[in-house]
Symmetry: C2
């Protein structure tokens, strides 16, 4: 018999159906057996009355372990007493497709590290499963938006011939008789695509950072959302692209998963108003300093505590979850960020904070070869390994700008999760390469 999804059962009351899924719980009483079957769309109660002698169904339900994969056929009945959708399945056939070993190695009380060891079992929890349903919707909405803006989907190489952007944090790979390096971001390549006449570049793909960092926001491998827009009039075009994209994403998530997110994760998805507030870094620091904040390092930048405080302040004063910080000092930005024409100590750049967490860095790029080389030299950057990148600016590169955002961070903030370990399918950190 063809499969009926649990979410569709209400349309089959009085009919015989077959559901496929896992045994979520079993309550075996003296006269009755109550099983909850779970598939990726929901849960249904299976209610079986014991008989004398016991039926095959009774024996199968009695002996099958939790999390075994089963196909159960039976009749769908309306039963207002049942919590799961007011219906139950009265089984006439149970097929154990693949039995699970008992006992299970994790349960509701297991901590995150042990859960990650058993990630495939961990993901069977509907609240965890939901994260990846939401991820799918997030990416779908982002791409729909980007395609609508005329973007080209590009896949930039992850192998680089030189450790060009910042040697210190790059993974090194034995590559036949030489070495390759894993891309920390598609930065150089997406700019090369703009030089190649691709009008708007869009990529969602992995990047690699050899940082021995153990915070809730860092990973050695993560999925970066990258955008690069040609022929912009200024960095405002990039911020506008991003805020409209995120508004589209949040509208799609709220519509498709808003109820489930509220129920399973206790979080309200808010579709943001546009435009997001914009605060220049200088003003942000003044506001925070007035509150008593003292930056520890990186004069002219915010530390994570500063980011949290600024977001809290914006939320308090304006009721907004998002805020762009703009006009970062050149001293804390890479050489390729374009500087203000009237004040070369400032850049046409931004970060986007969401509920206290930085989720994006963006900027207009310097597209004039001479200026770019000068800025690299001023920063003490070794331009040797950058030769092919720099050369691409000598043949009519248009003005452009772009952004990079972390997918797992966006999901973490959106869904109120503790760590990107929760919003990554299989997390990779300095001490985690398994499973």
């Amino acid at each position: 018999m063809p499969r009926t999804l649990v979410k569709d059962l209400a349309a089959h009351i009085g009919e015989r159906v077959t559901v496929y899924g896992w045994i979520n719980t079993a309550r075996l009483q003296r006269k009755m057996q109550f099983i909850v079957l779970r598939d990726h769309t929901g849960m249904v109660q299976v209610t079986n009355k014991r008989t004398e002698p016991p039926s095959d169904v009774e024996e199968a339900l009695e002996s099958t372990s939790i999390e075994s994969a089963v196909k159960i056929s039976g009749t769908v009945l309306a039963n207002p007493v049942v919590k799961l959708g007011g219906l139950e399945l009265v089984p006439d056939s149970v097929e154990v497709v693949n039995a699970a070993v008992a006992p299970l190695p994790i349960n509701e009380q297991t901590g995150i590290d042990q859960r990650l060891e058993w990630r495939f079992l961990d993901l069977r929890n509907p609240a965890r499963h939901l994260i990846f349903d939401v991820q799918t919707t997030v990416e779908e909405a982002m791409r729909e938006f980007a395609y609508g803006e005329g973007a080209t989907e590009l896949h930039t190489p992850k192998f680089m011939g030189t450790a060009s952007e910042s040697g210190a944090e790059v993974f090194k790979v034995k590559y036949f008789d030489r070495f390759a390096y894993l891309a920390q971001s598609p930065q150089l390549y997406k700019q090369m695509a703009v030089s190649g006449g691709i009008d708007k570049v869009f990529e969602i793909g992995p990047v690699f950072r050899a940082e021995p960092s153990f915070t809730s926001r860092h990973a050695t491998e993560f999925i970066s959302i990258d955008v690069e827009l040609a022929w912009i009039d200024g960095v405002e075009d990039v911020m506008s692209f991003e805020e409209r994209m995120l508004a589209r994403v949040l509208a799609a998530v709220a519509e498709k998963h808003g109820d489930a997110i509220r129920e399973l994760l206790g979080v309200e998805v808010v579709v943001p108003e546009l435009p997001f507030p914009r605060i220049a870094m200088r003003e942000a620091i003044e506001l925070l300093t007035a509150q008593g904040w003292k930056p520890e390092k990186n004069k002219g930048d915010l530390d994570p505590e500063g980011e949290r405080s600024l977001s809290a302040l914006v939320r308090e004063r304006h009721g907004r979850e998002f805020v762009f910080i703009t006009d970062f000092p050149a001293s804390v930005r890479p050489f390729y960020h374009m500087r203000h024409a009237d004040d070369p100590t400032l850049t046409h750049s931004f970060d986007l904070l969401w509920k206290g967490i930085e989720i994006t860095t963006g900027a207009q790029r310097e597209h004039r070869y001479d200026v770019l080389v000068k800025q690299a030299e001023e920063k003490g950057v070794d331009t040797g390994p950058l030769a092919s990148y720099l050369t691409s600016f000598r043949y009519g590169t248009p003005p452009h700008g772009g952004l990079g955002a972390g997918l797992s961070r966006i999901l973490m903030v959106m869904l109120g999760l503790d760590s990107i370990r929760e919003s990554t399918f299989l997390f990779r950190g300095p001490t985690r390469l398994e499973p």
Copy 2:
């Protein structure tokens, strides 16, 4: 003035507009200047009459090098004599945004290796640019199809803790105080997702193969399209998914780019009939042997020449571009392919050939732990590094199957290109890590 795209100029006849783009060609005559400006949507002739003394526009057009980035404002006139869409732009302002160095390092006669050195300039050629417009449409259509089937978009890790699938061809990465390995395919991880209750897995992402191979079909890094479907009734479900997805893709490409592909690449995009023909490997070998084909190695498999011959035969006899080869011998398939219940020498597997090239490998997977371990041992696979993969089959893994396909190969075949070097943004091979 806001930008008008070249493709939209016909709607602005008699109006003043500004176009942004590159100087494609310049024909400077005694009385007239004819410039062709190119953006990512097309080309337009800019026609300027010389004056005495010369205007600023005339001087700018005279001196600006080919491939410089410019903004040109002027009036759109209908002119049936002009080949480019029967219109021309009479300029009143030319802004050179970023001048190109002359002479250009590549031209129409440059060979592929040198073109790849200057890939960003190479991509300004509209025929090359078109490849990535098509790529965008291909991915969009694939995802629309996959989402419609209920698939979850997943990103599997590229860092693996062990070189599990096949040690020989895996790239090794220095990973803090140990080593990591780059994933050759998401195989193990997408199966783990199925064990985790993800009903249908979909991923488009990079994979890495340390093969010193220099054919037109191989790269050390390429984009793999991966699908894994839970609760299948058999491998036919996987083939059905793929053929319906490809039919959707080709319909979208034909509709959106069919004319441009015909004009720029001389190829006709054919939307295939469903279902594709299916030929069991045994029958394929009989057919080819009858034609005089002698397999060089891999008894029970086809070499590239065999694949070309079989495709030619199917095209000749049935007029079809695609053919599934099914039921490969277990001897030439990995241990995790499910075997026939009534003949363990055969697997429930397939390759898909398109115009003589293998673009996909797929199979139903063995989901029963005991059988899987037995098959691994029979093949002499070291099960130690596979421990966490194998363990995931002990907790109720449902029947499942999937496929892996190469994006660049699909584009190469679809667009009649000589090599995946042409259908990859920045190709990576054993001797190519730049640009």
